[in-house]
Amino acid sequence: MRSTKTKPVSGKADHGNLPKCLTGIHGLDEITLGGLPRGRPTLVCGGAGCGKTLLGIEFLVRGATLFGEPGVCVSFEETAEELTSNVESLGFNLTTLVRQKKLAIDHVQVERNLIEETGDYDLEALFVRIGHAVDAIGAKRVLLDSVEALFAGLEDESVLRSELRRLFRWLKDRNLTTIVTGERGQGTLTRHGLEEYISDCVILLDHQVTETILTRRLRVVKYRGSTHGMNEYPFLIESDGISVLPVTSMALKYKSSNERVSTGVPALDEMFGGKGYFRGNSILVSGTSGTGKTSLTTHFVDAACGRGEKCVFFSFEEPADQIIRNMRSIGINLQRWVDKGLLHFHSVRPTTYGLEMHLVKIHKVIQEFGPSLVVVDPVTGLLHAGTAYETRSILLRMIDFLKERQITAILTTLTSGTAMQEQTEVEISSLVDAWLLLRDIESGGERNRGIYILKARGVAHSNQIREFLLTSHGVELREVYLGEAGMLTGSARVTQEAKDESAALIGRQEIERKQLLLQRKRRALDAQIAALQLDLETEVQESEQLIAQEKLKVKKWEQDRGVMVTSRYGNSGMRTENGRPAAAAGKGK
């Protein structure tokens, strides 16, 4: 018995010592925590057309191409040619693999009407054929598709059952990792109860059509000796095989960045505590029709591209060209970022395919492009592709996926006019880190836009409603007018501001006038004072003059009198009888 492993089992699959075999199928190895049980058969069951054969073939092809494990396909239903052409569309070239001896296809045809049973027999020839094919290429993997065809071809079911049991035992003994497919039965996993014989691992495939949209699902029903994802996981058959979508981080263990980045609108950065949002945040932009959700999100994109970061824009409503054209009208040139390879548009109608397909596409584009910011416009568009519950779970997965990779997500949701503004139709508000609400403010016969931050985890954000203007050079936020009449926006705000302006002007003019008046008064008084002073001075002058004259007069008189006396004494030598000589005599005494 060979037990050498060509590829070590991935470390995270360490549950006991059960060796596992990586399938190489996108997502399946995550759900099974490392792949299928190595050296044991696994039953893959499901209804017609659910992808059993494809899963098996991909298991072989991936084994041959990725893990160096050749495989044998034992097909009970289709010929090698049919199989080859069937999987060609998935990019699997079986012919080449067969030529390279990495794959062997054996078509086992059982036709009952050509077979007569005449006694005791066994299926040794089948063993011989498988054994021969396995030995010829050193196969490690086997696909039996679908062994149940034997039930239609052989009469003796008891022989068949015991032989199948022996076959699975034999495959185990040869350490062949095997996928056995089986058609789903009524109330049982397989029509012929194969699950009785294969108890190591059972995978159930299913597909449901809800409102004309097909969703494929995969569930690991059991996995002996190992834990595994228990849920139904949606999967897709795409141009490069099967993709299963596990919820990428079931444990909410992703790291959080402390880096703050600009929204592209300076005033909005201000509202986010002056520094913008946290890198890797999921930001919800909600609002009714025409509130400018897309325009706002393109600012985020423009800013990110301006920093040299890559962005992906998932649009469910508009084609890329239309968005680019429309955003030119607000002065944002997205085309240059597309040309530089920094921006990628992925526009698709929501109803093109099911939700899972959308999620897979989103995953793929993100993995291929490696953006740091992703826009989904609008997430409510996905509601057309599934129910609200499904959409919510898809969005949860998508947000998880983006967070794990520290990719900023800008999600827009359209709120219908009648719905509550603070409730998203897909109810993802609790999943997002920041929520910008755009709303209409109707007043004064106008409809204006308002924006506020409903929540922003870990950010001291503004509590104010700002008026949101779409100008030819992008989004602008204005303080709204808060006055006696309440909140005013638009032209009402402009009018009110003008009114305030004129009131202020009148006030200013009044003050100026009063000041002028005062000045004049002062000037008049000053003039009066000057005049009075002048009067005083004149009066003083006059008075002094009079005094001087008077003094002069007195002096003159004295002089005159002296002269007279002298002359009198000089002329007669005697005193007259009148008073004068007496006075003079008196004076002289």
């Binding site: 054996d106 078509h107 086992v108 045809q109 059982v110 050509l114 077979i115 007569e116 049973e117 005449t118 006694g119 005791d120 027999y121 066994d122 299926l123 040794e124 020839a125 089948l126 011989v128 054929r129 054994g131 021969h132 034997l150 071809g153 052989l154």
Partner: protein
């Protein structure tokens, strides 16, 4: 039992080409060969040719005739090709399988 054996019959009369697939000399394969030999001698004396293919020695031959069960008897000639599986112990059914005896017609209403 030889692994490949041709019964001694005049070639010109061997218009029955029979091939018996076996895997080694198991009880079942020996039983089948004995049964085949007996039936042929009884019904096709001198007109048959039996080839025995041992898949243990030539496993690649199993795919050609789409053999899954062992032992399997293949009527190569006359055409059409018929397959009979089992140890051929049910002579009745072997004869039906070889078209030597008509099938029991279903009851008609």
């Amino acid at each position: 039992m030889p692994t490949k054996k041709k019964t001694a019959v005049p070639a010109q009369r061997a218009n029955w080409e029979l091939r018996l697939y076996v895997a080694g000399q198991t009880a079942k394969s020996l039983q089948a060969f004995a049964n085949l030999k007996r039936i042929c001698e009884e019904h096709l004396a001198g007109e048959y040719h039996i080839e025995i293919v041992d898949l243990l020695q030539n496993p690649q031959l199993a795919a050609g005739d789409q053999i899954i069960a062992l032992p399997t008897l293949v009527r190569k000639l006359p055409e059409p090709v018929r397959k009979i599986i089992g140890d051929l112990s049910n002579t009745e059914r072997v004869l039906v399988g070889l078209d030597l005896q008509p099938r029991i017609a279903p009851l008609k209403p």
